[in-house]
């Protein structure tokens, strides 16, 4: 899927580039959120954008997450393509009525006679020492709401292509940006391109087992896979990239080939998206190819703690993936 390019930029720059390029070509696209203007966004994503597009289209707001979500929803209903930035994914709890009861439902509830083309950019995940209220991964909540799409890119290339696709999509798209990925560098073509939302990507091919991982778990799974090579274990890593809609086919094909699957995510295990992935595999033709039961490696069922050691221990790290993958590869042999 990756086009040839020599230029490397960070995940954060890739997000910004997608925003800037779409705003240059479509005047209906605008960015709205807390401190996105002069400040440049809490993580610096929109740095420099105020200067290019002005305060109307790079719109600073009061600290009012419900009204920000409503502003995006209403503008989308009117045919604009707002991109709302929530400072931390955790704060979507305050926007939820607008997103879940309005944005997601208006099209269906009004008989298919309108559409809500908007993007909700949400910095997610732990690992920054920000503790319980600034570190969550709430994708499972939104995946369970018909009417919203959920995207979670793991590389700079995917971040740009998926954000452009999300902005051009005619539905509300929750776009998760993992805070630890912001500084990751990778090849990104300068020209605008979009990656279809329902397209998983095989990030690494392997024979012995499949790891299905998204967001921060992809680089961790790839690192784990490298370590396991030395032990003669050949790991395939599949990144669904969008959780909803989900490219089931690519996952099923991989699991059918390897016969073993480990599902990894950062969000707490109970009710997490891993359960959905596991059920999907179990209900698919891949079930007949499974040599051993499906395994999940997820965040522990705790709020994200502050202490560095506790925080690391709350979500899967590279060594946890290595251990779980090794055990899975050896199981039944």
């Amino acid at each position: 899927m990756i086009t040839e390019t020599k230029r490397e930029i960070t995940y954060l720059e890739a997000v910004r580039e997608a925003l800037v390029q779409e705003m240059r070509t479509d005047k209906e696209v605008f960015l709205i959120g807390e401190d996105v203007g002069t400040y440049g966004g809490a993580f610096g994503v929109s740095k420099g954008m105020l200067e290019e597009f002005g305060p109307e289209r790079v719109r600073d707001t009061p600290i009012s997450e419900a009204a920000i979500a409503g502003a995006a929803t209403g503008a989308a209903l009117m045919g604009m393509r707002p991109v709302m930035e929530v400072m931390f994914m955790d704060f979507l709890t305050i926007s939820t009525n607008q997103l879940v009861n309005a944005a997601a439902k208006m099209r269906f509830m009004f008989g298919g006679k309108c559409s809500i083309p908007m993007v909700i950019r949400a910095p997610s995940g732990s690992g920054t020492g920000a503790a319980a209220q600034h570190s969550q991964s709430l994708e499972a909540w939104f995946v369970n709401v018909p009417g919203i799409k959920v995207v979670a890119p793991s590389t700079p290339y995917d971040a740009k292509g998926l954000l452009i696709a999300a902005i051009r999509d005619n539905n509300p798209v929750l776009f998760m940006e993992h805070k630890l990925l912001y500084r990751m560098k990778g090849p990104v073509p300068e020209e605008p391109y979009s990656i279809p939302l329902k397209s998983a990507d095989v990030k690494r091919e392997g024979r012995d087992l499949t790891i299905v991982a998204y967001s921060i778990m992809v680089p961790r799974a790839l690192e784990a896979a490298e370590k396991l090579t030395a032990e003669g274990i050949d790991v395939e890593v599949v990144d669904p990239r969008s959780l909803k809609p989900l490219d089931e086919e690519t996952i099923v094909r991989s699991v059918s080939k390897t016969g073993r699957v480990l599902i990894a995510h950062e969000a707490p295990r109970t009710g997490g998206f891993g359960g959905e992935l596991a059920a999907m595999v179990a209900e698919s033709e891949a079930f007949d190819y499974l040599d051993v039961p499906i395994r999940r490696l997820a965040g522990r069922d705790v709020p994200i703690p502050y202490n560095r050691t506790l925080e690391r221990a709350a979500v899967p790290q590279v060594e946890d993936i290595v251990a779980a993958a090794r055990a899975l590869a050896q199981e039944g042999k």
Binding site: S64, A71, G74, P82, A102, M106, R107, G111, S115
Partner: protein, 340 residues
């Protein structure tokens, strides 16, 4: 239980109302006809519900017809509204086709929302009715976005955003009025103040006498009007429209009124007295407007009763026709959730 005497800022002066001269006769007739259609429509819907033909529940605005009609009457055809679960009045006032609307109540494929929304979620997007939300206050933040799009498109259109008294206790109300005021959005916020959030009288859930007092904290004008006086509502909303249209920003118009029926179909009216309900029935906005028209010499008694009868006939026909429409099919529902 005490009977509350509500306070209003604006009441029509005694004697002949100046709007009887300023508004065209056709407009006055249109206002009366819409008020009567709302009344008959809701009575018909209630009857169909009792007969088991309408599913679910409904929130009737009988007794509140002056608020929706008096406000929508100020609009230009291209202007917009967004409203709430007790929204039949706004929908009819904005020009809904009674048959398509009744079809929605009956859950039919030809209804406004193809039977997916029902009484609580009627929208007519091409007609400028951007829909009703069933979550109290939930339409107010969306109104900010609609107003923002109008402003960014340099449109001359304005939006009326309706909600009830209970909604003004929601955080979304605060966030939205503050944001709309800060950005001077072309929105008029209208409180359909029937004094009760389900069972709770406003005096038990807010420590102010008038909801319009809340406007002060957003730096916008706020006025409480007699919401049973369609001409008083018209005057107050027209002033707010002009402010919105000229780029000066939003206003809050609090229309004090009363719902004769319970909150929804399960309400046994345990929180108010029969006497209170009867007193408000004597303040019927439709009877009152008819008297204003006749006593002011704008129309004869026969003319107003003729309009009333025409509204009843229109509703009866709408219900008859809507009952013949097809039910939707449950197949392929998933295909309608996302836009292509």
């Amino acid at each position: 239980m005490t009977v509350i005497t509500p306070e209003v800022d604006n009441v029509s002066a005694p004697g002949r109302h100046r709007l009887l001269d300023e508004l065209p006769r056709e407009k006055l007739g249109w206002m009366l006809q819409r008020m009567c259609e709302i009344r008959y429509f809701e009575e018909k819907a209630e009857d169909l519900y009792i007969r088991g033909l309408v599913h679910g529940t409904m929130h009737l605005s009988i007794g509140m017809e002056a608020g929706s009609v008096g406000s929508v009457a100020t609009l230009r055809p291209e202007d917009l509204i967004i409203h709430h679960h007790r929204g039949h009045g706004h929908t009819i006032a904005k020009g809904a086709d009674l048959t398509i609307m009744m079809a929605e109540f009956l859950g039919r494929e030809t209804g406004y929302c193809r039977g997916r929304g029902g009484s609580m979620h009627i929208a007519d997007i091409p007609g400028g009715n951007l829909g009703a939300t069933g979550v109290v206050g939930g339409g107010i933040p969306t109104a900010v976005g609609i107003g923002l799009a109008l402003q960014m498109h340099r449109s001359e259109q304005i939006l009326l955003s309706y909600f009830g008294d209970g909604a003004t206790n929601e955080g979304e109300f605060h966030e939205s009025l503050n944001m709309a005021s800060t950005w001077k959005l072309p929105v008029v916020f209208i409180c359909d103040n029937n004094q009760y959030g389900m069972s709770m009288h406003m005096s038990k859930v807010m420590n102010i006498k008038k909801i319009s007092e809340r406007a002060a904290s957003y730096g916008i004008p706020g006025v409480t009007v007699d919401g049973n006086d369609v001409l008083a509502v018209y005057e107050a909303v027209l002033a707010a429209d002009e402010r919105a249209r000229s780029g000066q920003g939003p206003s809050l118009v609090d229309c004090l009124t009363y719902r004769w029926r319970g909150h929804s179909k399960s309400d046994r009216n345990l929180y108010r007295t029969a006497q209170e309900i009867e007193e408000w029935k004597h303040k019927c906005p439709i009877k009152r407007f008819k008297n204003v028209l006749v006593e002011g010499g704008a129309m004869t008694r026969d003319e107003v009763e003729g309009i009333d009868q025409a509204a009843k006939t229109a509703v009866d026909h709408a219900a008859e026709e809507a009952l013949t429409f097809p039910e939707p099919s449950p197949e392929n529902m998933e295909d309608e959730v996302y836009a292509p």
